[in-house]
Symmetry: C3
Subunit: 384 residues, 3 copies
């Protein structure tokens, strides 16, 4: 037992190195100039390598600092949640690079670009969301296993959504947020022990742990427009994804505060709502971030997400713990699960209103179903 | 009373959505190509959308994380100041987009660009500065009101400064920093109660709250060059604004530490000075950031600002509290007010030395007067 | 004594302003168009000023927020280490600009670009690394002296490495990390008092101070790819430096966790390892960041660095304190010294394997020797 974790970690790292040796190559200048944009002058080609780098860095801050600090609110798990967060993300980005790359290249060698690094960070984000549901209930060894299994399922679901269904989910409301939340809930259901029902004295925040969590909240909030736009088509689509997310987040803050004050005794604001529900607008905007062609639409989505998220924290989380026997430590169902589903449904509504293309609507519905379905199956298999 | 805040917040959000529906549109590709730079190749046009996005993100971090954490130094108000900061900023950026856009388009529909988002964040920054003066003395409801009123006055003053006077204030020493500080001081004067004179036991920092405040200080410090250059003309002006601010800030750190040690007993450094006066160089550099054509000029400005800010904290703040009956919780007069005025005066001196264009000097003076005047009037009206 | 620090700080700032007045100029548009890339269209020229700005900002966050917070782990020195960090960095970037500029221009006036700001931040980073070795043992006055002397030696060593030896050290494993660590260790050796051997009750972290240190760790971790690529040649080299560092860091996290669990009682992870050894992959990747043409090579470097760093913390640091009479407060030898040497050696091995160019190998060895040698001599001279 004493050596299980070190040996497993070393073994996984060796496996990653071998897989990278077999499959991963750098872009060569030749590859770059064979891209569709090859009519650009050579000088501009030089810049092409790094076009996405600022957006990547924003996403990178979100995954490592944002998710890491968001989970420090528990007074006794602050440091260990940060530590495990870093481990999951560091292993996950290597394995995510391989899993996604091999699927997309159908088993051939593939070249790595900044975009692959963004997608690797994305795959990691799904695991970190699931980690939020099981925080305090798992060992580092279990988290290594979950990282490997969840990212494999994630890559398969993403392949289904993008390549098979041809659905659109640019900011990944469905493939990251809903997927990560339901995967984590399924695992949390397996790990349930009846003692969790009474609550635990460590399951509390203290004043400073709440401030640390706000580091996470704010860096996630600030960089979310980059998350939703990082892999959008350059130009107008990317620009719309940024602006829509900016306003959707702002709207969700206002409605989340309103609902928090409404539901709490004496009109106080609840810290968990401020830390979490203020981000619901970013999650819910994901799928339609590059579709919505007027900002007020984004603000409606964000407003709804803020309301739903606060009501979820207030009423659904206790219900899940006591009735469904699912203990969701960080309330990821309210921050990622429900708003992720809203994001998917919004894309169906939006297509219905704009083009009424029933085939496109069906594909979005299939993507949403696949994201939740693979997550639940994957989580139930991973749990034990 | 119990429902005032929720209803007011929901009502404001609905109003924002309606206003956005009436006035705000996305840029179309056609608009973009009608810009002056339309001789650029189509490929380059695609990039044009996001040229300012990295600078916007730096400003965005400053407004949400920088100002938020800077105000966590009080041991009992840390969390509520962060929470209100986020609420003000989220509502303010929506209202700022509308107020500025309608004024500039003279009531027509307008297109939204990344630059509008920067300006919306800027309008929010003015309110957050004012919030620093009244921290601990107001309710969330009062802050919603203040956000709406202050941003309206802010947009009018900015219109006067830029469109009517044709003055230059690229880094907004006058229109954001001096404006925000004097607006807040006017409100604080109205809210004065004699009990504030004796100080309050909650008006203290503790060890960890000072470290949280340093998160704010450092992210403001690091990104201030982006704040002062974000809306400067691309090319040489933007580059000069960045480099000037970089060196001005560095100089203000050194002189602020020197003065702090000089004024404190036994030569110790005072935490409030480290947290605040180190930023005075960024504030004071604002107006002349894109004018000053030698870095040593920037270092002189920064050195002066660091000295003035520390002396302000040491001598002016107690004087304001006891004699003027204005209780300035965070000392915004010393960080934003005085250095902002220095910034405005520096632009007059600079024009005098370089071109001696008396008309330009008069317009800068008018801009400074307008920023302080509208702020005081606005604050006095808003206070009750 | 009472006035020594203020007068010294003011005097140094005045000296900086005079030196800037004598030597530093802005780029003019004419200079820009005389660059080799002058075939670009005028529109693109405008952008040229800011090409490196996003990378600069990432480095800037690392130097000011990253290094600052990394040193907050001691429960009683958190605030003073942050304060001194800011002072060193603010003075150092001014002096670094001058020292490097004058050496490179051979005493002529020189123009300042974003790249100079990156290099100025780099010179500052070396001093901050040395500061980690002497934290808690020095006064602010001593740190001002050390900043001036160390950056002068740093600039000389960098000149030797780049201009004289023509060696390659793009991410500065040797010239910043090894140099800074050995300089600091030499000073720490001079400052040794036997009371340090028994340890000190302030030499402990508490729960929250460890979380503050993680802010430093995570922002360093996330932005390290920018550190190693900021001054690389645009295009493929820069891209490779980014990707190599990304994967090297990920690998060092996994192996550092494995070794930490292996060496600690009951398989627990040690917080100091999580905070520091996870960064060793970034340090060790520095020299070969733009050479290594396959990512798995980067992962091997990172894996080795993570292992070596943890073993260093566990066994070398106690040995240094008790036997060598060198008390290394933050363990910079394990985070910067050893991984920096690994980085230098890796470049020799890499050249041996790829081209077997013995002259190039000798120059890399000379660079490594020079970095350690000038650091030790400089540190021993500075110490008293």
């Amino acid at each position: 037992m004493r050596f299980t974790f070190p040996l497993m970690a070393i073994g996984l790292e060796v496996a990653m190195i071998v897989l990278f040796g077999l499959f991963v190559q750098y872009e060569t200048d030749q590859n770059v100039s064979q891209q569709p944009n090859s009519t650009k002058s050579p000088t501009v080609d030089v810049d092409r390598y790094l076009d996405l780098y600022p957006l990547f860095q924003d996403v990178h801050v979100m995954v490592f600092a944002g998710f890491g600090f968001l989970m420090t609110f528990l007074r006794k798990y602050g440091f260990s949640s940060m530590g495990i967060n870093l481990l999951i993300a560091a292993l996950g980005l290597q394995w995510g690079t391989i899993a996604q790359g091999i699927l997309q290249s159908h088993g051939e060698k593939f070249h790595i670009e900044i975009k692959n690094m963004i997608n690797a960070d994305f795959s990691t984000a799904a695991v970190l969301i699931s980690f939020g549901a099981v925080l305090g209930k798992t060992s580092p060894i279990q988290m290594l296993t979950m990282t490997i299994l969840e990212i494999a399922v994630f890559a398969v679901n993403e392949y289904l959504v993008v390549e098979v269904f041809g659905a659109s989910d640019i900011g990944a409301s469905m493939t990251i947020h809903a997927f990560g939340a339901y995967f984590g809930l399924a695992v949390a259901g397996i790990l349930y022990r009846s003692s969790l029902k009474e609550g635990h004295r460590n399951e509390e925040s203290v004043y400073h742990s709440d401030l640390f969590a706000m580091i996470g909240t704010l860096f996630l909030w600030v960089f979310w427009p980059s998350f939703n736009s990082a892999i959008a088509d350059a130009g107008k689509n990317q620009y719309m994804a940024i602006v829509n997310t900016y306003f959707s987040l702002a709207a969700s803050v206002v409605t989340a505060y309103a609902c928090s004050s409404l539901l709490e005794s004496r009109g106080k604001l609840h810290m968990v709502h401020i830390q979490n529900a203020t981000l619901a607008g970013g999650v819910a905007m994901g799928t339609t971030a590059d579709m919505a062609n007027t900002p007020y639409y984004a603000m409606i989505i964000g407003s709804i997400a803020g309301v739903v998220s606060v009501f979820g924290f207030k009423f659904l989380t206790p219900f899940f713990t006591t009735k469904l026997r699912i203990h969701d430590t960080c309330g990821v169902h309210n921050l990622h699960g429900l708003p992720g589903v809203i994001g998917g449904l919004a894309s169906i509504v939006f297509i219905a209103l704009e083009t009424a293309d029933t085939s496109a609507m069906a594909m979005q519905a299939a993507a949403l179903g696949s994201s939740i379905g693979t997550a639940l199956v994957g989580g139930l298999v991973t749990g034990p």
